[in-house]
Amino acid sequence: MHNVKVHWPAIAIWFVAWGLLFALDGTFNLANLALLLVLASAVAGVFLSTTASLLCSTSSVLLFNWFFVEPRYTFNVHLHQDVLLLITMLGVSTVVSYLMSRLRAAAELETQHAHTAEHMRQWSDSLRAATDASARAKLLQTLVMHKTKSQVAVLLREPKLLLGSADTHDAQGLWACVQQCAALGPGTGRHENQTTLFLPIRGHARAFGAIAFHPHTSQNNSAWHQQQLQQACDLLGLEMEREHSLQLVQQANQDAQSQSLRNTLLTSISHDYRTPLANLMGAASVIHNQAARLSTDKISGLAQTVLDEAQHLNRMTTNTLQLARLDAAPLQIKKDWESLQEILGSVLAKARQRHTQRLINVAVPEGLPLIYCDAILLVQLFDNLIENATKYSPDDTPIDIQVHAQPNTLEVRVMDQGAGVADAWKDKVFQAFERVHADAAQADATDATQLRRGMGVGLAVCKAIAKVHDARLWVEDREPHGAVMCLQLPVLSQPYMTMET
């Protein structure tokens, strides 16, 4: 029953009552003193269990008889007088202590429930904070172990996982429980003869797993207990269901993305490849068919066209493939400690070879920190930025490249003096093939279309490369006119090096 800890007030009350009885003896008559005794019994009953209260009342009546009822110091009872007092007192104290014990039991149950609810709330918080299914299953196992003080086996369906030990019998039970999505074992109405209790980890539509444990037979509120454990299981189930649907959404997104990538590649081939291919074929067929009638200068010029268009195709192919690769497996890149100065240097060497007449000014401060990156990808990024700058600004204007070291970042700015990028295009230029459909119909489309010839994949791949490096890439206006391509690279804490003395 309930352990009554608050008996000190009861002792005090009885003490005071007896003090008063002795003090008032002789002043009041016996009947009035008896009433005092009834009062004390009733009030003390508030603090005592029923049994203790009855014991106290009975002994009080006997002592009262001994001390106050004539003849005093004997148990000779005037039956017709004292029996009535005894019955009244016993009745009152029984009723009071019974009511109190019920009240206390209710209160205690309330506290226990509140405590459990709080515990479950904390537990479900930690469930949500857990990173993967096995960590969550482990949490459930620990909880059930703690509640039941028995060995607990947890089975998950996806990913297939078994925590704790389960013999073949238990394993069968677990799977049956998962499949039926219902509790099995003692007290469940199914397979009552089992000693093991199986509870399903339920989502809305199906079970995501099950737990098995040996319930304590001594637990007298086992139905409530089982319900509580089922609740814990369901919390995990719902969490897993939430995760599952999240994965489905992600999968759907990925599918949509790869679909859009496929479309991108198709658009690339159908639009951007035809022009250079047409030029190639034209120039090559002229050389092939009419070489005899052409001057060597003319042939050399045509051969140059073939070379240029082949290089253009090569660049587009490299970019398109890189875009596809980064899209398919953005994490499979090989990063190492690299010097930005070196990377820019090797890009510039190639750019100067391609554009021998072009003025390219470069300002790289000394002593830059190393960056953790994939050098090949960054070379491709800068190569595209510089190529775009040369392509979309007049040949007689310089291109300026600046590097600024800032706290925790390095910023590279590639600046041209071309027409710049209109505000409406500042985001779109980084999307592959954004231009193609809408613009053709517009009256002023020629500029934009011309501007963006072959630009689609180039800047899109730059954006993708920036993304896998946690870098930011954006375009700004340059005064008085021109575009500034800005790349902001994160600088990580530098690798350890021992210095030469």
């Binding site: 493939l321 070196e342 990377i343 240097g345 090797s346 470069v362």
Partner: protein
Amino acid sequence: MALKVLLVEDDRNLRQTLRDALSVEGYEVVASGSSADASAVLRHAMASDSPLDLLVLDLGLPDGDGGDLLRSVRAQYALPILIISARHDYANKVALLDAGADDYLVKPFSISELLARMRVTLRHRGTVVLAPQTQYNCGTLDIDLAKHTVLKAGEAVHLTPTEFKLLARLVRQAGQVVTHRQLLVDVWGAEHVDQTQYLRLYMGQLRAKLEANPTEPTLLLTEPGVGYRLAE
């Protein structure tokens, strides 16, 4: 006598183009389209009176990995090998350079690039059997490894021991790419093989001392993702 080159390339058109171009330049070209055929040609030619002088090897062969062929050639002959690879094959390319290939070229390339690489590779064909290069002269820079001197425009440049070791390693294979791994192992030791940060730092220091403009070097060239090359 003309230098004899074995060209292993599976694409018929490219093989024909390269064959013609190399013949025009005065090389004697033996062309092969597969790994098996190339092995047979190699066995036969190397045993004959006029052995091969250079192997130009494409990595993507129909009957097996060009890498296997490279390793078997390296194990048997002191024959210089120039790798031709597609762009995406970086990891494989670096592995082959580490495995003993002399240099590489990324497809698509121009014929002048191929000829330049071939000339350098042929000049170094003695590296395996003969003493490696110990003197280097390019522009205003004069290096003599034996005398331990580095002169820039006639004036001595002071280098730290590590800087000198790094420069010396590049001089021994001037004109050819030396991979990060080769440099780290030879200069810093095998235990530092993954610590490319040292390379970046000392390369920067060397450039600051030897180059007119360290950002755009003309001598100590970067091959991103692969290694470094000392220009000729």
